[in-house]
Each structure stands twice: as C-alpha cells, then as structure tokens.
Amino acid sequence: MTTPGRGGAAPAPAVLDLEDLGLDRGGHLLVERALAGLAPGERLAVSGRAPELAVHLRAWCRNQGHTLVDHPAPGSISGDEPGPPPAAAVTNGDRVEAWIVRGTAADDRWRGAQRTGAADPVRPGAVAETAASTWGVAARGALVEAGSPAFPFPLDHRSMVWTDDAPRYYRQAAAAQWDPATAVPWETPVDLPAEVEAAVIQVMTYLVENEQAALAVPARFLGRVHPHFREVVQVLAVQIADEARHVEVFTRRATLKGAELGRSSAGGQASLLTLLEEPDFALAHFLLSVLGEGTFLALLSFIERHAPDPVTAAVARLALADEARHVAFGMAHLGAVVTSDPGQRARLAAAIHRRHDALASTVGLNADVVDALVVLAAGSFTPRAVAEGFTRVQALEAEMADGRRRRLTRLGFSPGEAGALSALHTRNFM
C-alpha cells in the first residue's frame, strides 16, 4: 500500500494492490491494514487479479460496514476522484479495481474500551488498585471492549491480594517444579522394623490429610482472585500443584510396602476444617501459610533429619522446599496487608483466637501422630531409643513455637503478643 503525500489541496486516496490474492485467501487482512491508516470517510483504491475479488469485496464491505463506491473509469485507479459510473468494481483487462470508503464500525466497536494496566508489573500503573469486573479474564494490559460481561471475581482490590513479590515467587515456584516419578529414589530397598514402618505410614497418612487441606484452601480462593492480579493467581496455582505432588509422594511412601494406611482422627480433621471454613482470603492465607505451613517447616525438616529410610527423607525434603516457598509468599502477602493497614493485625489476632475457641472443645490432635513421630525419631523400640525420640519431639514442638513467634514478630506483633498468639495455635500443627 502507498499513501501519497498529504500536501496540496485534495488529498490523494490510498492505493492497495492485492496482486493475485483474493479475499478467500486472507486478502481481507491487507485491506483491513490499509483501511486502518485512514479516517472514516476516506477512500481506499483496491486493485487485484483474483477472479472473485469484485464480488467478495462487495460482500465483505457490506458485512464490515464499509462502502464500496462507484469507480471512475477503468485504468484510472491511481488517485482520481470517484465518479458516477454504475459499477462499484470494474474490470480492466484481468484487473479488478474498486473504491472502498472506510466506515466507522471498527472505531465504534472500540470506543470506550479500557486499557487494563500493563503486563509488566513493574511499570507505573501496571497493577490497578481495583480491577473492574468487566475486565474479566482479559490479560492484564489488554484493551478491553466496552460492554464485556462482568465476571464474579470478588477478590478484586489490590490491597486484598497483591504483593510486589508475587512475580518473583511465581518465577521461583515455576523453576522449582520436580517430577515425583524421578525425584524420589523409589527403587532404593526399604526394610524397616515393622513398628518403625508402621510409624512412617502413620506420619505419611497424617501428612496426606494436611496436604489435602493445604490444597483445598488456596483452591477455594483461586477462582475468586481477579485475574488482573495474574502473578498471585499463578503462585496459588503452582502452590496447589505442589500440594498435589505432596499428596502423591506421601501416599506412595505410605504404601511402599503394600500395607494399609494409618489412622485419621476426628480431632485432627476438626482442626483442618477450621482452615477451610475461614472465608476471608487474607485470614485464611495467614492461618494456613504463615502459621500452619510455617509450623510444618519444622516438622518436615524433623522428618527428613530423622527419617529411617532414604525414601522418607526424600519426600520430606522435597515437600519442605515447596512449603518454605509457600510460607515466604504468605509472609510477603500478609506483610503487604499489615503495611498498608496496620489495623489488620487485630483481625489476624482475632482469627487465631476464633480458631482456638472453635477447637477448644476438640482434642485437636491425633495422638497416634505424635507417638509415631517419637518412634520414627527413635528408630527402634529400645527404652534408650524411645527416650531419645521423645526428647527430639519435645524439641520439635519448641522449635515450631519459636518459628511461629518469629514470623508473628516479623508481621509487627510485639514479642509478648507473638508468644501468646503462638501458644494458641492448634495442637495439630497445621
């Protein structure tokens, strides 16, 4: 296409030669491109050798809201004013020549469209304070047509979900994915005393139900976070996939020797139910990732250190690396929440109290699990070994509480508050 210079009195029309390309083979793309450079009402002269070009141009223009106007005379396509002859497209030898007057429909469609921030979260204004429901599932930074349907994404305020660290955590999470089939030395012989194997199975049974809760909690919110906050959605999605793998490898370790799974206690499940019942995203993220998964860091590290076999050590180590990332993201999110509104700390504290009260009438703990941890850490049933295992589990519980206190302090709670709140955490660990 050429657009002759605009100097002088009457601007010459743009000219497009389609050569032998017809509209039935994509020629409309060239026509659209040429028309895009014109204002509504301006003319485009089109010529070409495709046999059906005249017929198809007429039909296409009618459908697109452009007008095919009368052509002056064969052979004069190069810039003359349109004139009165009756044919809207004429044939000059084997060449079709036609005039198109650009319509307004393309502009009309995009009037009032909104640019939704920018894809790069670092750019100023990239992430909106509030994402409109009518932005829907459009890519952040896309131009969204007015009149697009409203999507029910209730977590649509930046302050509810966003942290500037989310893109970094997503990159880390995506890079750290591992394959359950190859990351664990499944072929290594495992031949433990029956009591120790049973303890491992009980611990794995407990881990599976905790990981299923840790999968269900972000899954409940995933579809409610506005996709404008793309990196948060991505982190949560990978987190869910992480938990899915954890469920797989813990199950596979538990059934490695073909035995039945262990026990699931009512008290343990009651504790996990309170996590799923928390309706507020920030509070659920706080209870799950900062307190629950934070506590699990110490637990998984303990299992890895004292694992009686390399398979158990490997599944604990792999899960630990993922959970550390979940905790870090939770801390970043909650840190952003309390930084933007320090009053949110009182809500976090209240959530701990509520959960504690809800669990007050339950055992809140699967005693079999604690016993199994002792046996796992003991490695045998001699009095000396059991005593050692017991001491190690006591140290573990102290380490867990210490971790919770440190994280609460980093979120701005005083040492006294952090200690008191840590002590209210569920006895079920997660």
Binding site: G22, L23, D24, R25, P51, E52, V55, H56, R58, A59, W60, R62, N63, Q64, G65, G103, T104, A105, D107, D108, R109, R111, G112, E145, A146, G147
Partner: protein
C-alpha cells in the same frame, strides 16, 4: 393489534438465537420507554397473513414475505409500509458458481445441465438467480434442470443450510452449478466448505434488497414512529446495543426502502410463486 401501548412484532424462528435477539430488543425498547412484544412464527406465510389480518403491528419480513404482504394488503385495500432495514440488507447480489476445473465456462454452457439451488422459497439462492439466468436466455426446467436443497422451507432461505448443501453438491459433482448469495461464497471459502480456488463465479445478479420491518395498515402511528426512531438511533458504539446488532448481523439500521425488490417481484411472476393478490400458487 397494539393493546395498552404495546407494539407487537412478528418474526420467523429460523434459529434458536431469534429468541435471544428479540428478548434483547424487548429489554432495550423497554429501557427506552417503548412497550414492545414479539410473536414467533414457524414460517413467513403465517407471519404475513397475521400481519395483514391486523394481528400484528409489525413483521420482520423476508424480501419474499414483503412482496406477498404488499400484494395481500393491496388486494384488500390496505397498504403496508417498509419502515426500516439493516445496512446489510441493501444492495446484495447472488452468484452462480461452477467448479474451476469443470466444463462450464459461460452461462450458455449450462444448457442441458443441473443447477443446484437452495430452498424452493429462497429469494437469494433460488428465485432471483433463476430469474437472472432466464434473463440471460436459459429457462429453468426447460434449458437446464433445477436441483433444490429443501432445508428450512417456509423460512425463505433464512436458514443457510440450503445454500451450503448446494455448494457441497457442486463439489461432489451432483450439480454443475450452484446458486448462493455473494457473502456466502466468501463465507463458504473461509469455513472450508469451498476450497479457495475450487470454484469460479459464472455470473452475478444485479443488486437487490433483503429483509425489512413491514408495518401493517392498522398499526398505531405514534408507536410505529417511536419504534422506527429508536431503531435508527441504535449506534454501534453503544456497548449495550452492539451485541444485539452483532447477533442480528448489522452495523446500523437504515430507513426502509422498497426500490430494491423489483428483481424478486419479477422472479415471483416468472416462477408463479404468488398471484397478483398474494395468493399462494406454487410454494407450500
């Protein structure tokens, strides 16, 4: 027909989306203060008869339905009017298409061959193209055989299936030529029914017009004026209106005109579709 200030329009349900379209228009008209309701018919003849009988105020008429409504009304001493039409209803053409590698290179070559058309009552895929061929010296059923594709008979070719079947018959060798609206030749190429380059346009009809809103003689003037004014005010840059226009296949409504139905009226005469008074002669 209008009762309690409600304008009643009739339309033919040629596709399930028709309900979506008119529910949308009904809501939009209501928002503008116009009481509007619609009645759906399974065929245009019943629609036209209801309009002329005063059971409807307005009919969303096919061009053939307009021709019949005009004749029926005139014979009864009344007069119907076309008040609005789509921009995409103006200046259509139909084409007669042959296989690129086939023996037919000019219209005269169709003599003794088979010409595939759409439904028997399709203006664009049957009536007008056959009349066009007649104007070029070839009479349907005399100089060539007509092979109909009766999908959606009674719906005046609104259902594109008849044209698509004619196009497939052409590719399969069951017919030597196929008739279709110009835009459908492009559509069938894009969707793959006709591979690009596999067919050639043998001849193209002069321009003609398609559907219009036909107002019955007894329709209340102020309501019709409001209805027409609102239609013409619908703007494609209005996000509330645009989905309705997209569904109905237009960018803007135009004032109704009746100058574009001559070719169809001639075809109706030639092919004996209706008598002068709009009585059914040939069509079911």
């Amino acid at each position: 027909m209008a009762t309690d200030g409600v304008l009643v329009m009739g339309a033919v349900a040629y596709d399930p989306k028709v309900v979506t379209i008119w529910e949308g228009f009904k809501d939009w008209f209501a928002g503008k203060g116009l009481g509007f309701d619609y009645v759906l018919y399974s065929n245009y003849d019943a629609l036209v008869e209801a309009l002329v009988a005063g059971q409807l105020d307005v009919a969303w008429n096919s061009p053939l339905a307009w021709v019949r409504a005009e004749r029926l009304s005139r014979s009864g001493g009344g007069a119907v009017r076309a008040v609005a039409m789509r921009d995409t209803d103006c200046d259509l053409t139909s084409v007669v298409v042959v296989r690129s590698d086939g023996p037919v290179t000019q219209v005269e070559d169709l003599r003794g061959r088979r010409v595939g058309v759409g439904a028997v009552d399709s203006p664009q895929a049957t009536l007008i193209p056959l009349s066009h061929l007649r104007s070029m010296g070839l009479a349907a059923g005399v100089d060539f055989d007509v092979v109909g594709h009766e999908i959606g008979v009674g719906k005046h070719g609104d259902h594109v299936g008849g044209e698509r079947e004619a196009a497939r018959a052409l590719l399969d060798g069951r017919v030597d030529a196929a008739c279709m609206i110009d835009g459908n030749h492009l559509l069938f190429s894009h969707e793959g029914t006709l591979a690009p380059g596999s067919t050639r346009i043998l001849t193209q009809t002069p321009t003609y017009d398609h559907c219009n809103f036909t107002v019955g003689a007894s329709a209340p003037g102020p309501l019709v004026e409001r209805f027409t004014g609102l239609l013409l005010s619908m703007s494609y840059d209005d996000p509330e209106v645009r989905p309705l226009l997209d569904l109905e296949g237009l960018k803007a409504w135009r004032p109704g005109r009746t100058s574009g139905y001559g070719a169809l009226a001639l075809a109706v005469e030639e092919q004996g579709v209706y008598d002068d008074a709009g009585g059914l002669v040939r069509l079911p």
